[in-house]
């Protein structure tokens, strides 16, 4: 277990380091110089331009800038926004809690509804199974932005139950404003998790050890809990990890659709304003969330399934 942990953490750090290199280096490829954002449409004098380049450390070679940026990031200094002049860390901190709350709400919905649908389909063959399977195959193709518009149209504009955009005051108001965005992201993920759960549980139900347990006269609930679910858990945990990671990426779309002031909306705004320091930091944060989710699901699997600890490999 310890060795697996070290290996996974090592792989995680490598991926993060490489993607930070890609993210930082790619901005070097951008046509036009970053300092042009500061001047807008004005044509700066050569001296003003040189001063701006010096202030932003653009006059230094790329490896030096990357090293400065990386050490800064590791010390919690993410740079300064070129548009507002605020520290990037402040702008991100303001939105981070909202995005994390949104992702958490989405995943609670996904786990509850997805597991319920998958279990119902697996345990009740026939009509229920057919109905749930049809529902899940349709819902995995409903992208968050289409779900957002349909939900806004019905529950915000028609019924007026939830706000169409923005968040209210306090925790209650925030949760109220995040219900529809969470639902919009959950539609696709619920279908995915429902499918995975159904197939995993079905596979276990057909195994001989389950039949043996039933023949031995064990209560059905005990068989379900200790023989079926325990063994079906591995693919379900992987799916939840993947979906959590994917939900972080989906916030880019959904937060813009509902004008939720989180990390996703900040990214899209900064891209439009060409505010590179913010884009860099947010991209790194989202990649980090993505990678950590995937690694966490691997580790949880090793906790759930002791067999995976021996070989030390889960891929």
């Amino acid at each position: 277990m310890g060795r697996l942990l070290v290996r996974r953490l090592g792989g995680l750090a490598t991926t993060l380091l490489l993607s930070s290199l890609v993210i930082f280096g790619s901005l070097y490829l951008a046509p036009g110089s970053p300092e042009n954002v500061l001047f807008g449409n004005r044509m700066p004098t050569a001296a003003a331009r040189a001063a701006a380049r010096h202030r932003l450390h653009l006059d230094q070679p790329l490896p030096v800038r990357y090293w400065d940026w990386l050490t800064g990031v590791l010390h919690g200094d993410l740079g300064t926004s070129m548009v507002t002049g605020q520290p990037v860390a402040d702008r991100i901190g303001a939105g981070l809690s909202t995005t994390v709350l949104l992702v958490a709400m989405t995943m609670v919905l996904v786990v509850v509804v997805g597991l319920a649908m998958g279990l119902a389909a697996a345990l009740l063959p026939g009509r229920v199974d057919a109905a749930v399977s049809t529902l899940t195959s349709v819902s995995v193709t409903v992208p968050p932005f289409v779900a957002s518009t349909l939900l806004i149209s019905v529950f915000a504009v028609r019924m007026g139950w939830f706000p169409a955009s923005g968040l209210g005051e306090g925790l209650g108001g925030r949760i109220d404003g995040l219900v529809l965005p969470a639902c919009a992201m959950a539609v696709l993920s619920c279908g995915f998790l429902g499918r995975v759960t159904r197939n995993a549980v079905r596979e276990q139900l057909e195994r001989e050890h389950v039949q043996t347990a039933l023949v031995r006269g064990l209560p059905r609930l005990v068989v379900l809990r200790t023989h079926v679910l325990r063994n079906a858990l591995a693919p379900i945990v992987t799916a939840v990890g993947l979906l959590t990671a994917g939900t972080f990426a989906s916030t880019l779309v959904v937060e813009s659709a509902f004008a939720v002031p989180g990390i996703g909306q900040l990214t899209i705004q900064s891209v439009a304003q060409k505010d590179f320091p913010v884009v860099q930091a947010v991209a790194l944060l989202l990649v980090g969330a993505f990678v950590v989710c995937n690694a966490a699901s691997d580790l949880v699997q090793a906790v759930v399934d002791p067999r995976l600890r021996e070989t030390g490999s889960t891929s």
Binding site: S137, P143, F145, T149, S153, A249
Partner: protein
């Protein structure tokens, strides 16, 4: 001709056939858009603004009086072109890499797998947003970024399928006869795994369509006056005024198209329709006809 169609319909099953028909209709609409569209997709008549469905406008008209049906028909062009490019480029890059990795194994395989893992760690949507940040919004940067993101998706599956073929006896038999790597992989392995490649490409096409539509919805890929399904869904003015048809029609069309692509892709790549196993049992390994032909 008729028997071929019937045979195809039987292998695809009921849902697969329905999906294929729907996709044919959408592709035909995209190709023959100027002939089929009842109105100019960009010409609006303000007197018709937010007009409901009528004889002249079957699906109504949007906020500046443009015909929604015509915009959907023309939108099929941009909405299908982007994903087609993404899948085409990813196949061109990914399939040779996957075949080489599965053929040589060893360090080639290890290096390719590591690179795929790294790209896989970056969500496609984020990669596309970053690219747009660098090169400005447009279909080209979005397609380029998604092509990179979809290479590992396709290549991993192709690699696994090719690996299975690689260790089967017919490959050894061909190698003993003196055929080289290019001929064996190109003429035998690739042909045997073709259903998997085509099926997964169809599924990838669906996901690429969703990603590109999401980007167009955000205003990062296809730009506003151009008719495109993703752009049409972003009409928040109509939405907030309570006119749902201009937004729901393209949304439903996106969902239906992607649904058809995933169902068809799953059928082609080997998921048999329910009940198939009861009727006839699949043999463990399908006989390889191409190997016999080469030996003769």
């Amino acid at each position: 001709m008729r028997t071929t169609l019937r045979k195809a319909a039987r292998t695809l099953g009921r849902s697969g056939t329905a999906s294929a028909v729907l996709l044919l209709v959408v592709v035909a609409a995209a190709l023959a858009a100027p002939l089929l569209a009842p109105h100019d997709p960009n010409q609006g008549n303000l007197l018709d603004a937010y007009g409901g469905p009528s004889g002249a406008h079957l699906l109504g008209s949007d906020g500046i009086g443009r015909d929604i049906l015509s915009r959907l028909v023309f939108g099929a062009r941009t909405s299908l072109l982007g994903p087609a490019l993404v899948v085409g480029i990813s196949l061109l890059v990914g399939v040779p890499l996957a075949l080489a990795a599965s053929w040589y194994g060893g360090w080639v395989d290890a290096v390719v797998a590591r690179v795929f893992d790294l790209v896989y760690a970056l969500p496609g949507l984020l990669l596309a947003v970053l690219t747009v940040a660098l090169f400005g919004p447009g279909l080209t940067p979005a397609v380029a970024a998604l092509s990179v993101a979809y290479v590992p998706f396709l290549a991993r599956i192709v690699r696994a399928a090719a690996r299975q073929q690689r260790v089967s006896p017919y490959v050894d038999a061909l190698a003993v006869q003196g055929f080289g790597m290019l001929r064996i992989t190109g003429r035998h392995i690739l042909r045997n795994i073709a259903p998997v490649v085509v099926g997964q490409a169809a599924i990838a096409f669906g996901y690429a369509l969703l990603d590109l539509a999401s980007l167009s919805y955000l205003g990062l890929a296809v730009q506003a006056p151009t008719p495109d399904w993703g752009v049409m869904v972003s009409d928040s003015d109509a939405l907030l005024k309570g006119y749902w048809l201009p937004v729901a029609a393209p949304g439903v069309l996106i969902v239906l198209t992607v649904l058809a692509l995933t169902v068809l892709g799953a059928r082609i790549s080997g998921d048999k329709p329910p009940g198939y196993l009861k009727r006839r049992r699949r043999s463990a390994a399908p006989p390889d006809r191409t190997a016999v032909g080469a030996a003769a």
